[in-house]
Symmetry: C2
Subunit: 138 residues, 2 copies
């Protein structure tokens, strides 16, 4: 965790109480939080922090490649701190629960040149959908 703060400082990130709190929130839990949830947890540690700052900071962390933005549903973006090991997501269609998963194979290699239409393809995002045990059982 201080790894993250160290890395950021090394890249010339100006360290402020707000940024530290946001980074701590993301590192503290291995879940996929919405911006609002990050804000709520940040407020618990630093009551004066504003929504705009949380959005700004999240945006910077994404630009720096420290955090992934995940848009699994139409609602809010979610932020995934597990940016250094490539992985994909499994989402419950009913309750929205998200798990990180590691499929076999390399989906990037599965897109033939004839299907690339001249694009420079750099990334692939796989989202599995289904029902989690709780929602399927009920």
């Amino acid at each position: 965790m201080s790894d993250l703060l160290e890395r950021l400082r090394g890249r010339g990130w100006r360290m402020t109480a707000q940024r530290r709190v946001v980074a701590e929130v993301l590192n503290g839990e291995h879940v996929h939080l919405t911006a609002d949830e990050v804000h709520a947890r940040a407020v618990a540690k630093l009551p004066e922090i504003s929504r705009a700052t949380v959005y700004n900071t999240l945006g910077e962390l994404v630009s720096l490649g420290e955090v992934l933005e995940v848009t699994t549903d139409k609602r809010a973006k979610r932020y995934d701190p597990n940016a250094h090991r490539p992985h994909h997501h499994l989402v419950c269609a009913r309750c929205g629960a998200i798990r990180d998963v590691h499929p076999l194979g390399n989906p990037l290699a599965d897109l033939p040149d004839t299907e690339r239409f001249g694009f420079t393809v750099s990334d692939v995002e796989v989202t599995y959908r289904g029902l989690c045990p709780d929602c399927a059982g009920a």
Copy 2:
């Protein structure tokens, strides 16, 4: 196209001018429109149509399986009329252009049981990201 209208009528869909116009807009162009774009095109054909009706109708078409909802970016949902041939999407990270693509293999089979966490996995959505020729060239 009248195929679509026929199918819908066969399923007990009450046919109205508004619904016809929305269905025509989706069938008319092989692009991925946002709800607002659908509304704009629908207004061109039927000026009195309201936003709520477009949203309702799109939602019904999705429920009926005639149209796919695609959420490639954080902005608006897009609607893909090409629901009867399974496919995935290639998105330009800069301009947002979308192409339908057909990767090799079956990503659903690439998720081992040990990575399913008890979920009933029913669907998979693959989004390739990169730069389109225009954006990469510039």
